[in-house]
């Protein structure tokens, strides 16, 4: 326990780095997946290959990806960019499926109406399809966010791992405390992030949580 008190600065530093490394890829991944998913619903033959390719990318071991990236991009080996790019790849490979499913979840009669009231193609996506896809997209977003937060720590193996560095640090000394602190904080971070996403989703989709009307048997 005294270890915690003595190392508050370090813990705080790693926590901040961890959060940064986990969240930035989620945001970037979302920015990439949405247009990509939209294209895949327009040209539906693209959807399955994209999802399958995502699955393959996701099965690449993260350690390998973390190290390959500087070789490919020419970034410095200790640059956070490596982790961010790797996790962004994971994010997109997972999220693409949800974006596609989400856009496909728009009921056909709603889409029909949107066309018939005279929405242009792009306008319709922004004003109708995307809002309706939010719950499905958020399901994916929650999964990748949590997964990212837990995956960042693997970066510790190459020296940029946020809370993961507490793992290696403790492990080298055969010392449980830092590892447990790292795991607990990482877990807490994931749960808080999840909670924030759930709240955000509730705020974004007030329509999705309304009660069914009186008289209808569920």
């Amino acid at each position: 326990m005294t270890w915690i008190g003595d190392n508050l600065g370090l813990i705080w530093e790693q926590l901040r780095e961890h959060l940064y490394l986990a969240i930035v890829p989620v945001i970037l991944g979302l920015i990439i997946s949405v247009p990509l998913g939209y294209v895949a619903t327009r040209y539906s033959w693209l959807a399955n290959p994209l999802i399958a390719f995502g699955g393959i990318l996701y099965s690449l071991p993260s350690i390998a990806l973390f190290i390959v990236i500087p070789a490919v991009l020419g970034t410095k080996v200790l640059s956070t960019v490596n982790i961010i790019v790797a996790l962004t790849i994971y994010t997109v490979s997972l999220l693409i499926r949800n974006v596609i499913d989400g856009l496909r979840s728009v009921p056909p009669d709603v889409r029909q109406s949107a066309i018939a009231v005279g929405y242009g193609a792009l306008h319709r996506v922004v004003a109708v399809d995307l809002p309706i896809a939010v719950p499905v997209i958020f399901t994916g977003l929650r999964v990748v966010t949590v997964a990212n937060i837990s995956m960042v720590s693997v970066g510790a193996v190459i020296g940029i791992g946020g809370l993961g560095e507490l793992f290696t640090l403790g492990f080298q000394k055969d010392f449980l405390t830092p590892v447990v602190v790292g795991v607990v904080l990482s877990l807490t971070l994931a749960l808080i992030a999840d909670l924030i996403l759930v709240s955000l989703q509730r705020i974004l989709t007030p329509w999705a949580r309304v009660a069914t009307p009186v008289g209808e048997v569920a």
Partner: protein, 216 residues
């Protein structure tokens, strides 16, 4: 990397690629088997009774948030062992949530009218589970096991961090020695293995899922 792969020396022997693949498969299936043994019955129970779903799903999510590296290290430090056991613990913790969650989803997604009909014709709870809910939930159950497999295969690389073998050996040694061909080889083989296993489960799905569920 091509040189590494085509060098037949690298393929044979108990440190060779074949041996590593077998080790990797062993870790994967051991962890997967245990995850199924634990996750499936719980998922079935929750899906069938539709009670405790909230708890199970959220526990499942929380487990997903466990960093496997940290978990592995804690497992090593706590069990005071560096063998297979801590790795198994970490991988099983990773495998259970998807299996649990999709088993639950598979069962709870069964049309209530179908269950109503089954009950109405005099099926007992067990018969409803085995003859109706499991077969209809099968596509999702398989896909849960499938995604657990993918995660386990790719994460089993960390076994190498605590002295075990498997394809992670190449990745970790390659990392330590900055031997990129070796590392790429490892990563690529892991991805290949994942693809092969994925195809295997697609096949299993094709066999176990009733054609009636694939129409339309």
């Amino acid at each position: 990397m091509w040189e590494y792969l085509t060098d037949s020396f690298n393929w044979s022997g108990n440190e060779g690629i074949w041996a590593r693949i077998l080790e990797h498969l062993w870790y994967t299936f051991a962890a997967l088997g245990l995850s199924v043994v634990i996750g499936l019955p719980i998922g079935l129970r929750i899906g069938h009774t539709r009670r405790g779903a909230f708890l199970a799903i959220n526990l499942g999510n929380a487990a997903r948030a466990l960093p496997s590296l940290g978990l592995l290290m804690i497992a090593v430090l706590l069990t005071d062992q560096i063998g297979f056991l801590p790795v198994l613990v970490a991988l099983v913790a990773l495998g259970i949530p998807p299996i649990l969650a999709s088993t639950y989803a598979g069962l709870s997604g069964v049309d209530p009218a179908t269950i109503d009909a089954a009950r109405g014709m005099g099926m007992t709870g067990r018969e409803i589970l085995t003859k109706v809910e499991i077969p209809i939930g099968m596509p999702l159950i398989i896909s849960g096991i499938r995604s657990a497999t993918l995660q386990i295969v790719s994460t089993a690389t960390i076994a190498a961090l605590v002295s075990l073998g498997g394809l992670g050996r190449y990745v970790v040694d390659g990392l330590k020695l900055r031997d990129f061909p070796q590392m790429f080889t490892g990563a690529l083989l892991v991805a290949l293995l994942a693809i092969v296993l994925d195809a295997l489960f697609a096949l299993i799905g094709r066999i176990t899922v009733s054609p009636g569920l694939k129409i339309g």
